[in-house]
């Protein structure tokens, strides 16, 4: 019973087929636990936004069901909407209202009386460091400020889950850091958060668990640490070179001490090695000896990008 109470999102066989037999989401089963920051990671068109849309009453599933905060989203959409907070990709602030009024009326939509809504609107503007803009038009806000106001609005009615669709896309680096500070703080206060992203570094650093999605299916679902460990890779060397890359890959696989695998992905050779001591000079030496011109060389531990490449054979950044 207690485990059920801790499940804030549950989906069973959740599927969306758009007209023209385009399957955007294909039999998704996942559970999000209270207090998690859950990341849907995948390239554009993987089905992340459609999944979020089905969970937030906007995209009607073709098959399957989803439950948020104990309410079946598609049996009781109006009830479900009281339990979710949504920060979409585009700015959906009310252009006819000021910054403060945006929050005030949001509170009223969600059943706050005037007094409570006024107090909460002011408190949130202080918390989100927007209080000096309270009377400004929302058109006068920078991208980062508008995004902060949308987060404030989305959590105002204390939703069971906060959904964010690509929360840092299009933000400058400073606003991106500010956004993550806010999400981190909400997380510490116990807010359950589900977000979609195609930034691997962010998913890696901030998410409690990550579902790697491609073509509407979950390819892997675990904590970032476990996902990276699951690749079995210790060190990864990425080599950009001119010449026959397949030949270079075979050469390095055979000739580098501790090499466990080498393959060509996106016109680069990815070499997996146990232990990193002296690998780079050895790679350059060997390639040079056989007439390959190495133009770039990188060495790192496996990232979620490595996980994605391992799972799909392609680069997430494309």
């Amino acid at each position: 019973m207690s485990s059920q109470q801790d499940d804030v999102i549950q989906t069973v066989d959740l599927t969306k087929v758009y007209p023209g037999e385009i399957t955007a989401v294909d039999g998704l089963n996942l559970t999000v636990t209270r207090g998690e920051i859950f990341g849907l990671l995948g390239p554009n068109g993987a089905g992340k936004t459609t999944t979020a849309g089905m969970l937030t009453t906007r995209v009607r599933p073709t098959r399957g069901r989803c439950v948020v905060g104990g309410v079946d989203v598609w049996e009781h959409p109006a009830r479900a909407k009281a339990l979710i907070g949504v920060v979409p990709q585009s700015n959906t602030l009310d252009r006819s209202l000021s910054v403060w009024e945006n929050l005030y009326f949001h509170g009223r939509f969600f059943g706050f009386d005037a007094k409570k809504s006024k107090a909460e609107a002011t408190r949130l503007l202080e918390q989100f460091r927007l209080i000096d803009r309270r009377d400004a038009s929302v058109l006068a806000l920078s991208g980062g400020m508008a995004q902060r106001l949308m987060v404030a609005r989305a959590i105002m009615h204390r939703p069971s889950v906060l959904f964010l669709d690509e929360p840092t896309a299009g933000l400058d680096p400073q606003s991106r850091i500010a956004m993550w500070d806010i999400l981190d703080e909400l997380h510490r206060e116990g807010q359950t958060i589900m977000l979609t992203t195609h930034y691997m570094e962010e998913a890696d650093e901030f998410c409690s668990r990550v579902a790697v999605i491609d073509h509407g299916k979950i390819l892997a679902l675990d904590t970032p640490t476990n996902l990276k460990a699951s690749t079995g890779i210790d060190t990864l060397v990425t080599i950009t070179a001119e010449g026959d890359l397949e030949a270079l890959a075979s050469l390095l696989h055979a000739g580098i001490v501790g090499a466990t695998n080498a393959e060509v992905v996106d016109r680069k050779v990815l070499l997996e090695v146990k232990g990193s001591q002296g690998v780079l000079p050895a790679v350059v030496q060997l390639a040079d000896d056989r007439g390959f011109l190495v133009t770039d060389l990188r060495i790192n531990e496996p990232t979620l990008e490595t996980v994605f490449i391992k799972l799909t054979g392609k680069d997430l950044r494309e």
């Binding site: 549950q10 905060g69 309410v71 049996e75 109006a78 602030l93 969600f110």
Partner: protein
């Protein structure tokens, strides 16, 4: 699966109490009223100017300079007849301006509608709120414009109130116009709005029996039949019956068709709205 069904079925385990549909509905209306009250300096000129010019030129300037239509002996009769037409056209216009135009923007590029449909009420209720708020704006517009149509004409206007008709027909015309606005708002895109005015609204108003009673079209029989597809005809004729003793279409027929049009526009508007916000 069974776990899921259990937890979904038992609403007691839900995280927070539901917000009543009506509470959210009322709050949406309050938001619209708030925005309207802050935009009066735009609302009033945009509402007043067109009917003011219409009434001024047709019933003040023309009689004064003794020109054709509205001049000469029929002047008083024409002014009286025009009051009904002006009211009808103002209400129809307002329905489009208050509902269709903002909605086209919200769907098209501001995307504000995405937030409005996340308010905790059924999507249909969000659409109905648009109709109610629009109908109230139509009513306000009619109240502002009526004195203009009454006082501006150079000749006396013979108003005879038929209260029962007036008090039932005003809400009907307002709801019908706002629902038509909702239908247009979900159908047109920012790019095609000029078409809405050039190809839809213009013929509606010119052939909406604003300037002439429907019965007078008898001499152009085909036109008299053709304009029957125009909802503005019934609105003009209905107000003629409500405000004057001038000839008008049988009032029973006016009500019957108006109810039909209203039901159609509400249905088209709500289903169009759902189609736009859900995928």
């Amino acid at each position: 699966m069974t776990d899921l069904t259990k937890s979904a079925g038992s609403l007691l385990t839900a995280d927070s109490p539901p917000v009543s549909n009506l509470v959210a509905f009322r709050a949406l209306l309050q938001r619209d009223a708030f925005v309207l009250s802050h935009n009066l300096k735009e609302f009033i000129p945009r509402t007043v100017l067109q009917p003011l010019l219409l009434v001024f030129v047709f019933t003040y300037v023309f009689p004064k300079i003794g020109q054709g239509v509205g001049g000469g002996q029929g002047a008083a009769q024409f002014s009286t007849m025009l009051v009904a037409g002006v009211l009808a056209s103002v209400i129809l216009f307002q329905g489009i301006q208050a509902v269709a135009l903002p909605l086209v923007q919200e769907f098209g590029y501001t995307k504000e509608i995405e937030d409005r449909v996340l308010a905790p009420l059924a999507v249909e209720m969000v659409a109905i709120e648009k109709i109610v708020a629009g109908a109230l704006q139509c009513l306000i517009a009619a109240l502002i414009v009526f004195p203009i149509a009454y006082f501006v004409p150079a000749t006396a206007v013979n108003i005879h109130y038929h209260w029962l008709i007036l008090l039932t027909f005003i809400p009907l015309a307002c709801v019908s116009s706002a629902a038509l606005g909702l239908s247009f708002g979900t159908f047109f895109e920012p790019r095609t709005v000029p078409l809405l005015f050039g190809v839809v609204v213009l013929p509606l108003t010119f052939l909406g029996c604003i300037y002439f009673p429907w019965q007078s079209l008898e001499s152009i029989r085909w036109l008299q039949i053709l304009v029957l597809i125009n909802p503005l005809v019934y609105m003009s004729e209905g107000f003629r019956a409500a405000l004057t003793d001038t000839p008008h279409m049988p009032i029973g027929a006016v009500y019957l068709v108006m109810f039909g049009f209203t039901a159609l526009f509400v249905w088209v508007g709500i289903s169009g709205f759902k189609k736009r916000v859900l995928s």
